[in-house]
């Protein structure tokens, strides 16, 4: 191969890239690891305590769902789907999917996954919307947060699993946090965007009538940004579902665990069944939340007669 190339680069030894000394590099890595360990040794306990309630909520919620009689769960699914989408077809589809999931003996895993995704989504909304609102109010805050969101969305999830596990070990809480890191950017971004896109004149009208900051935010900005915020919620749910398998690696449980086992042992059917269950949940969540988001925009449609 070397004879074939037009230029023999190997003669140009001076062009070797500069590399940090092997020793120095090892020291650097050691230093970082060491100081992070020290940090954990000193702060690990209270940090873990902070996340204790999180774990508690998640576990309670999961228990409630797993323990719930299955017909009750189906009624709730049908009810929520119908409330969200106003489509009985979609509600029926959702119910049938869950019956099939139970039939294929994936009920418990599904409940754990739905619980995890629901809690993660709820927390992402609770944290993400205020951050998005804050960003929308100041270009400087936006400038500081956007790169962080970019990193959160592009960094391979395995990389932030490491410090999370070092801090909190393996279990539900670290899994939830890993899911949230991955899933929170869309809701933050779209809240920010939605509020920034609110018509300036409408906002000016609110000002002209003497609205204060709170009345502006809750009376005009958030309601008008709602379709965008809802698109963010939808994306957040989808991203949380996308993390189900990876989160299972650090103790999330649910449908991800059998998938991991299937990969390790080459159980094709097991993997496919559980994978399909995740897909089914994703489709149901997606369709229902999108239909709901569309209904939020109904007032934008013109024409007479409601």
């Amino acid at each position: 191969m070397a004879e074939d190339s037009l230029i023999d680069w190997s003669k140009l030894t001076w062009i070797e890239p500069p590399v940090m000394g092997r020793q120095d590099l090892r020291d650097l890595k050691k230093g970082i690891d060491g100081s992070f360990r020290d940090f954990i040794r000193e702060n690990g306990e209270w940090i873990e305590n902070i996340f204790e309630p999180l774990k508690w909520i998640l576990i309670k919620f999961e228990h409630a769902m797993v323990g719930m009689p299955w017909p009750l769960f189906l009624v709730i699914v049908a009810g929520l789907s119908y409330l969200g989408s106003r489509s009985w077809k979609l509600s029926l589809g959702a119910v049938l999917s869950f019956i099939l999931i139970g039939w294929l003996d994936m009920w418990e895993g599904t409940m754990a996954t739905v619980a995890m995704v629901s809690v993660a989504t709820f927390l992402c909304i609770a944290i993400g919307i205020p951050i998005g609102v804050w960003m929308s109010r100041s270009d400087r805050v936006q400038g500081a947060i956007v790169p962080v969101l970019d990193i959160m969305q592009t960094i391979p999830s395995f990389v932030y699993l490491i410090p999370v596990v070092m801090l909190l070990g393996i279990g539900k809480a670290p899994a939830l946090i890993a899911v949230m890191i991955y899933a929170i950017p869309p809701i933050v971004r779209l809240t920010n965007l939605g509020i920034r896109l609110v018509d300036k004149e409408t906002l000016e009208a609110a000002d002209a009538f003497g609205a204060n900051k709170k009345e502006r935010l809750f009376g005009v900005q958030i309601p008008l940004a709602l379709p965008n915020i809802f698109a963010g919620v939808n994306q957040t749910i989808m991203m949380a579902l996308a993390m189900v398998v990876i989160a299972a690696m650090i103790g999330a449980g649910g449908l991800g665990t059998p998938v991991l086992r299937a990969v390790n042992n080459q159980y094709l059917a097991l993997g496919v069944f559980n994978g399909m269950a995740i897909v089914a949940i994703a489709i149901i969540f997606d369709r229902v939340s999108q239909a709901y988001g569309k209904r939020l925009q109904k007032h934008r449609e013109g024409g007479h007669g409601v």
Partner: protein, 349 residues
Amino acid sequence: MSDLKVQIKNLYKIFGKNPKSMVKHVEGGMSKPDLLKNHGHVIGLNNINLDIPAKGIQVIMGLSGSGKSTLIRHINRLIEPTAGEMIVDGQDVLTMSPDALRDFRRFNASMVFQKFALLPHRTVIKNVLYGLEIQGIEEKEAMERGQKWLERVGLKGFEEHYPAQLSGGMQQRVGLARALATDADILLMDEAFSALDPLIRTDMQNILLELQEELHKTIIFITHDLDEALRIGDNIAILRDGAMVQTGSAQDIVLNPADEYVTDFIQDINRARVLELNSIMGKKPAKATALKLDKSMVIDVAMQELSNAKAKSATVVDGNKVVGSVTMDSMVQAIARPDGEVKGIDSYR
């Protein structure tokens, strides 16, 4: 009628990085293009002085970009001034604390917008109630008041519609009802009817004039349309490049335009519908004629009257008192365009 409601004093607004430092250039007479070219700042308002009497309609007119919207937004301080005072009811709005300013906006001045600026997620009635909600009026009373105003603008039955379901004219009626519902005695209207079709615009002007008959608000009405200005304005102020070039009644402006800019503005209007006998009559009483016309009659009505009576001249009266006379000729003279403008028409021939 002649109580001062709003007094604008030495008001400057300059847009740019360091507006305060530009005031001295503008005071020194630098023009808008020069300030932009040499210092990168835009003149929004240039030393505006205007006294607005209570209970009348003050029109502010000018071409697009002349600073009309900027000026009206200083009255409720949606835009912060660079220098100057805005005295409303003896208080300078421009130095009010944030709380006082909010109360001023809630209770003393309400606004109607060119593009309606309704709240699209609220129904028509909820839009009308918006100001009352912010005032903290209790729901039942607010509802009664909102309903009343909705009926006054002719939208009974549309309570539960959303703005997007209404035509432009109807939307602006909602905008008007929303502004009137707060009971503020100053009404700011920024090209409120400019986005509407001509017929609907005339409709809206009629509604406004009708309401004003009974409400006697202080209305500040922005328009770029002279016909509209003449039709509804008790007083007219004309802006050019952020400076006030002329203020006065419709008669003043049509008869004595201050400069070419104003002359251009008035050249296409129907003078017969604007000029009143009052401002064109001769002082000498007419030769024996039975026809008596009121001094505030406009020329085109007066000509019709003369023609009906087959008279050549008429006596102008103020109540029972004789104040002057007009002839067919003098009226024709008055409605002819000033010389300079006729040339333009000649060139068509």
